[in-house]
Structure formats: structure tokens, C-alpha cells
Symmetry: C2
Subunit: 165 residues, 2 copies
């Protein structure tokens, strides 16, 4: 709802937040579209799900392994979620899980040799897919988007923190 002020210039009412809402919907649509495309391709080409791929990506960065809690924090998902995810990856032979020798509560997980080899192949293709998907953006677009999203992220983080306080 816009009104015209005395100088006949469009002015928004104090509590019109339609622009932000539209921005949010567009952001969501965009992300969802890309994410579902990535899911489809991972499934078609490698018969792997995105959560599994993400978990393997974390493990690929830490050859010495991680504890389940580490994974949970890094991926920002619940502990119980990681338990099940790891269970299935152990099942399929991609991940090795063993109890820590110094603390018997702790499970240390690593990629198996096969898991690492497969992941590397997937990651390489994945990177090409992303490049293709963002292909029509020039390098200035990419830089601008990075900046604006950084600002958005900071703004969102502030709102999250404010609510928690």
C-alpha cells in the first residue's frame, strides 16, 4: 500500500514491508530451485543424497577424522540426525566409524579409501554443475551478490541474536 505525499512522490506507509517479503520469497525460490537441481543430479549420477554428500565433504577436509559432535556442529544439524546419517554411510562402505581409544563415549569417523575416491569424483562434478547453474552471472554480478549476501547474513544474524537475548 503506497500513498502519495504532498509533493506527489510515492511514499510507503510506515509498516509496509512488502519489498522485504518479496525479496525473501525470491531468495527462497532461487535457493530451493538450485538445491533441488543439485539433489536430482547427485541422485541421478551418483545415487547419493545431498546430506550424505555434505557429510562426506566435511570428512574430506579432515583426514584425521571427526567426532559425531564435530560433524553435528559443522553441519548445523542435530546429534540424532548425524547418528542416522553416519549409520547409513557406514552401511554403504563410505565411512569408517570407531570408538576413540581415549574416551569411550566418542565415535571418530573418517572416509574410507573408497568413500574418499567416490567423493572426489562427485565433488569435481558438483563444482562444474554450480558453475553451470550460475553461468549467466558475470564476475561483477558474483562479487556484488557475495557482498549483498554477506550484508544480509549479518542482518539476519543480528535478528537471531536479538531474539535469543
Amino acid at each position: 500500500m503506497t500513498i502519495l505525499d504532498s509533493e506527489t512522490k510515492a511514499v510507503e506507509t510506515p509498516d509496509d514491508h512488502g519489498d522485504e517479503l518479496r525479496l525473501w520469497l525470491r531468495l527462497l525460490t532461487c535457493t530451493t530451485m538450485i538445491e533441488s537441481e543439485i539433489r536430482s543430479r547427485l541422485r541421478e549420477r551418483f545415487e547419493v543424497t545431498l546430506p550424505r554428500f555434505d557429510l562426506m565433504a566435511q570428512l574430506d577436509k579432515t583426514p584425521d577424522g571427526m567426532t559425531l559432535s564435530d560433524v553435528s556442529k559443522r553441519m548445523m544439524v542435530s546429534n540424532g540426525n548425524v547418528t542416522g546419517l553416519v549409520e547409513r554411510l557406514v552401511e554403504s562402505g563410505h565411512v569408517d566409524r570407531r570408538t576413540s581409544s581415549t574416551d569411550r563415549r566418542v565415535q571418530v569417523i573418517r572416509l574410507t579409501r573408497q568413500g574418499r575416491a567416490e567423493f572426489r569424483k562427485m565433488a569435481a562434478e558438483h563444482e562444474r554443475w554450480i558453475a553451470e547453474i550460475f553461468g549467466d552471472l558475470g564476475s561483477k554480478d558474483v562479487a556484488d551478490l557475495m557482498k549483498l549476501l554477506a550484508k544480509t547474513k549479518a542482518s539476519a544474524k543480528k535478528a537471531v541474536t536479538a531474539r535469543m537475548a
Copy 2:
């Protein structure tokens, strides 16, 4: 990996797609953070989930009701998913479901009076939350982001279409 060309200007190797990958991760992080904040608030304040809220938003726009297939298309989720979602909303009294009089295969769903009243309250707060979350962005930022995301969406859509062909 960047190299320096004869004029000492940074140039990227042909197949370096790191920037796009970083952009994608930032986009994903940003969206996920906002989405999970919205989920939390909906749950805390109204004890409602995001999928339910989204479905009610669709129904609020069509007072004459929609068929399950309509909902499925609009929300871009599977038919089976909608069946379950609607089941729970009927259960909680927010949605009314009845078989079409002209085609006994078709289920027409609408918001109940109570469902509509509750949704309106939720939607108003939701809009304020979004405004708060994007609060640090100026109106130029918002406009720029809209434009860049439109471009991104178009680029992604092209990649999706190309794969399907």
C-alpha cells in the same frame, strides 16, 4: 588457483569455479539461517510448522478453495505430501476438505473461519519478522538483490531446462 598474465593482472585458470561455489554456499547459508529462524518463531509463537503455514498462505489467496493438485503444483511438492499435510490441518481444524460435487475424484479444500483468522495473525507477524531480519539492508540493497536474484534464477532455470532436454 590464479595466475598473472603478461600485464600483471590476475586472471583465473579456465576451469576455476571457486567463486561460484563460494557464492552458492553463502546463498545456501543465508537462506537456511533465515528459514530456520522463521521456523523457530512460527513454532514458538503459534505452534505451527512452516509447511502448514505455507499451505495456509496458498489457501488464504483462494477463498473458493483449491484442489489438492492445485496446491501440489503451487507449492511445488509431491501429491502424497499434500495429502498428509492437509490431513493434519483438517485434524487441527484449520482446513475444511470436501469432495467436489461434479467430480468425485477431486477434493476441494478451504481455510475454516478459525483457520483464516489464525493465519491472518500469523501472516502479519511473519511479515514483521522478515522486515526485521532484512532490517540492515537499505532500499537500494533490496532492489539490487532482487535484480541479481532474478538473474540468478533465470540462469539456474536455463541449466535445469538444459538437463531435461
